[in-house]
């Protein structure tokens, strides 16, 4: 039975080891921030952090994730606590319309801010360029990441 390390917890998962990680996160672990968009790794909606890198969870098998450190957006805010600065910045900027793409975008933004605490607008756009947003909320999203960066520079991601 594959053992997954997600958001600092171990989960034994009862499924075929070739199952894409996305379905296990959503349907077995109830972590729905990673969302199915294309199943082809083209849109970014299902991104999660694996060993700190933002990657598509729709085309990586559970088997390949055993022993890796997986982080999802749910790990940002422990239950009952205030929103993480990154999410709070998205609230402040109202950086969402439908919001379907935001799980993946928050994930890539989180990865970016860990290694670049003071990114320029262009660096944010490049870091998010493989994420598609159809509602056209891009400029608010870029502003939200900048806002989060400035708040987080006083703390830690």
């Amino acid at each position: 039975m594959p053992l997954l390390h997600v958001n600092e917890q171990q989960h034994a998962v009862d499924c075929d080891p070739s199952t894409p990680l996305l379905y296990v996160l959503r349907n077995d672990l109830g972590l729905t921030s990673a969302r199915f968009g294309c199943g082809m790794g083209q849109c970014g909606a299902c991104h999660v952090l694996i060993n700190g890198r933002s990657v598509a969870s729709c085309d990586i098998s559970v088997e390949a994730c055993v022993g890796q450190t997986i982080e999802t957006v749910e790990g940002l805010t422990p239950p009952g606590q205030a929103l993480h600065a990154l999410q709070e910045a998205f609230m402040q900027e109202q950086a969402g319309q439908c919001g379907y793409c935001l799980g993946g975008i928050l994930t890539s933004a989180r990865a970016l801010l860990r290694h670049n605490p003071n990114p320029s607008a262009d660096q944010i756009k490049s870091a998010l360029d493989l994420h598609l947003c159809r509602c056209g909320t891009h400029q608010r999203i870029v502003k939200a990441v900048q806002r989060a960066a400035s708040v987080l520079r006083q703390g830690e991601v």
């Binding site: 968009g37 082809m40 919001g99």
Partner: protein, 718 residues
């Protein structure tokens, strides 16, 4: 088209909001609940546009409660008021107005009871956060205390006057969206819903637009782990499994194990204008006024657009459960009542036996696959009673089978006299009608229904009447004061590719053509594009958005209206429209830069949408509308061969990316005393035209076929 029922006869004499008159019981709209909370019910659905938050804002304003005290319930056909479809940028005018009137009346009723109880005059009372008190004292009673004594199950009796606008404390404020927090935490979507014992299904769609399932060998599929059932009904084919990934695996295997008769039914993608102008059509004269002067400069031009995909980031999803003699359906569609009624019709059930509930989907920009996915789930649930069924479309099916925004052609011919006035305007439109929503015609309105059994032709699309906003003919009649204007629609009746409503419908190409042609006529008669428009425009609000936009572009962008051409690389262009000729006013400037690709650097949108409920919500809609249209106009077209749609992933249907989006600046014209006009689709046409006019300004060449790719600019230069 108003698809909600007519006024209840008991209130038909009242001059109240039509959807309130159709559902006139006050407790259908407002309830006071434990914990000092207010629950509002609406027939409008959240599509990503923020409508539920705006409804909460309007309700909280009228009731004098805090925005934070209000919850708005998602539509459920068992108890929500039927307000028809959430479409056409009409939700604030229809749903917002009904909520406003219902809440105003509830407040009045509560005040009357409070006055009696406290033995004071109504005028001595005021309300704060739901606490009705005698002005200047803390003597009073709350809505929630009164709710034990006052039964709101009563008919609306009067058109209660809404709150005086100068006392507004919430309407007009940029309050935060109510649904965003959940979505940032990882939830909030229909796609996340799980039901006890839920099974996962996938539908195997035909390999071509016209195809019949000849052989299906399900032996291998049924042997796969977790697979429970293969359902076949004619050419409708679905597979059900315990787990989602098992359903996906089975879906792939099942397709391999089928044989189909495939037909060539699609036109030549590279000769779409020829197809549209030669196909059988119904001709409609939309406007005809005689020309009265001789023309001196006469030009003509043809503008075209391809089919466009909705291209929502999340594919369509539907859930259904045949449970205790009822069919429960969950959908992210735009009209749950129409969905329920159409399912009832096709399954031969009384509609009371079905309940349809809304859950949020990825951004909805028109009639996408949501209704179809719900019907898929309903069909499968009927075959597996007792099991909740979840269907999610695969990305390739979403692109291939959702209704597309129709391809269109607009031909224009115009003449300007020696004084520079337009004296003749002749316009012809070709294309399919734009609305294929279920229930709008007697034919079955769902994709799967056309594949079931012997199969049948798909439901032909319809247009609404012009006075209700039209469809293909939306914004076909220019908003300018033009003598000698003739506008003719050719509604093409052959529908090779499934089409339906996509943001702004026909207004996208109609406005693109009209506003491109206005620039062409201005250029031809050596007039600047702003002055030329203003001299043909008498509506002061229309003039005002153009004047404001022009002043801003001159001041902040250094744009010079007298300077007819740019520097061969950068250019600035203008587009204007009043959406549907009765909705919001939009003047848009775009700045482009041409290198190896066409890049839109920045866009300015000046909007007059009447009174504004939430200025940040309006800005968000406008920014999004602009960016989506820049994507359409620079990049997008549905591709197909003679059998099937071939743009079925994000590589074959690319959309605008973070590195490509323009800076969008929005100016809102304050009109607090004017009626709501709606805003979601207003910038669609003007933005498109502004980009084309900017390319002309930069390079001196006119590109009239969409998308406006660098390749097309180069072709135009030759």
């Amino acid at each position: 088209m108003n698809t909600f029922p007519g006024a209840d006869e008991r209130v038909a004499h009242l001059d109240i909001a039509p959807t309130l008159a159709a559902s006139p019981w006050l407790d259908l709209w407002v309830r006071f609940e434990a914990g000092e909370r207010v629950r509002l019910f609406t027939g409008k659905v959240e599509l990503g546009q923020g409508i539920l938050s705006a409804i909460a804002q309007i309700g909280a304003e009228e009731l004098d409660v805090a925005y934070e005290q209000v919850d708005v319930e998602a539509v459920d056909t068992d108890f929500s008021p039927n307000e028809g479809s959430t479409s056409g940028s009409r939700s604030i005018q229809e749903g917002g107005e009904a909520t406003r009137q219902a809440c105003a009346q509830v407040r009045q009723i509560m005040l009357q009871h409070a006055a009696k109880k406290l033995e004071v005059q109504i005028d001595d009372l005021e309300v704060k956060e739901g606490f009705i008190h005698v002005r200047g004292t803390d003597i009073g009673v709350s809505y929630w205390q009164l709710a034990y004594e006052v039964d709101l199950h009563q008919l609306v009796q009067v058109k209660a006057p809404p709150k005086d606008r100068q006392h507004h404390r919430l309407v007009g404020q940029p309050l935060p969206r109510k649904d965003l927090r959940d979505k940032l935490m990882g939830g909030g979507f229909l796609h996340d819903l799980t039901l006890p014992g839920m099974l996962h299904a996938r539908v195997v769609r035909p390999p071509a637009v016209k195809a019949r399932l000849r052989v299906c060998n399900d032996i291998k599929v049924l042997a796969l782990p977790g697979v429970l059932k293969v359902i076949r009904d004619g050419s409708f084919l679905a597979v059900v499994a315990q787990r989602e990934e098992q359903a996906v695996k089975a879906w792939r295997q099942l397709f391999i194990d089928t044989q189909w008769d495939i037909y060539e039914s699609l036109p030549d993608m590279n000769a779409l204008p020829e197809f549209l102008t030669e196909a059988p059509h119904q001709q409609e004269l939309l406007h005809d006024s005689p020309a009265n002067r001789i023309d001196t400069v006469s030009i003509s031009a043809r503008y075209t657009r391809p089919y466009l995909s909705h291209a929502s980031i999340g594919p369509s999803c539907g859930l259904a459960w045949w449970h205790e003699e009822r069919l429960q359906v969950w959908s992210h569609c735009q009209s749950l009542f129409a969905l329920r009624d159409e399912i009832a019709k096709l399954l031969g059930l009384p509609r009371e036996q079905i309940v349809a509930r809304h859950g949020q989907g990825a951004g909805c920009y028109g009639h996408n696959g949501a209704d179809d996915a719900a019907y898929d789930a309903a069909l499968i649930a009927r075959a597996m009673p007792g099991h909740p069924i979840r269907v999610q479309w695969m990305r390739e099916d979403e692109f291939a089978w959702e209704p597309q925004g129709p391809a269109m052609v607009v031909d224009l011919k115009g003449a300007v006299d020696a004084e520079g006035h337009i004296v003749q305007w002749s316009q012809s439109i070709w294309g399919n009608r734009h609305i294929q929503r279920p229930g709008r015609r007697p034919e079955p309105g769902f994709l799967a229904a056309w594949h079931q059994g012997e199969g049948c032709d798909m439901m032909p699309p319809v247009d609404m009447a012009m006075e209700l906003g039209g469809g293909s003919q939306r914004n076909a009649v220019p908003y300018y004061d033009l003598p000698g204007m003739r506008v003719l629609n050719h509604a093409v009746t052959e529908v090779p590719i499934r089409v339906s409503a996509l943001r702004a419908l026909g207004a996208y190409l109609n406005v693109f053509a009209i506003e491109s042609f206005m620039d062409e006529l201005a250029h031809q008669s050596q007039q600047d594009p702003v002055h030329f428009r203003l001299r043909h425009l008498s509506d002061p609000r229309a003039r005002s958005v153009i004047e404001q936009a022009s002043a801003y572009a001159q001041q902040h962008w250094g744009w010079d209206p007298e300077h007819a051409t740019g520097d061969g690389q950068c250019g600035v262009g203008l587009g204007f429209a009043r959406y549907k000729n009765v909705g919001c006013y939009a003047a848009v400037f775009a700045e482009v830069e041409l290198q190896e690709v066409v890049q839109v650097k920045r866009v300015l949108a000046v909007i007059d949408c009447g009174e504004i409920v939430n200025p940040d919500g309006v800005r968000n809609q406008i920014e999004g509308g602009v960016i989506q249209v820049v994507s359409w106009i620079l990049k997008e077209q549905v591709t197909f061969d003679r059998q099937r749609i071939t743009s079925t992933d994000w590589e074959s249907y690319p959309i605008l990316r973070f590195n490509e989006v323009p800076v969008v600046e929005v100016l809102l014209m304050p009109q607090p005393n004017q009626p709501w006009l709606g805003v979601g689709e207003g910038v669609t046409g003007p933005t498109a035209a502004a980009v084309a006019n900017a390319i002309h300004h930069a390079m001196g060449v006119r590109v009239r076929d969409l998308p406006l790719t660098a390749q097309r600019v180069v072709q135009a230069m030759r």
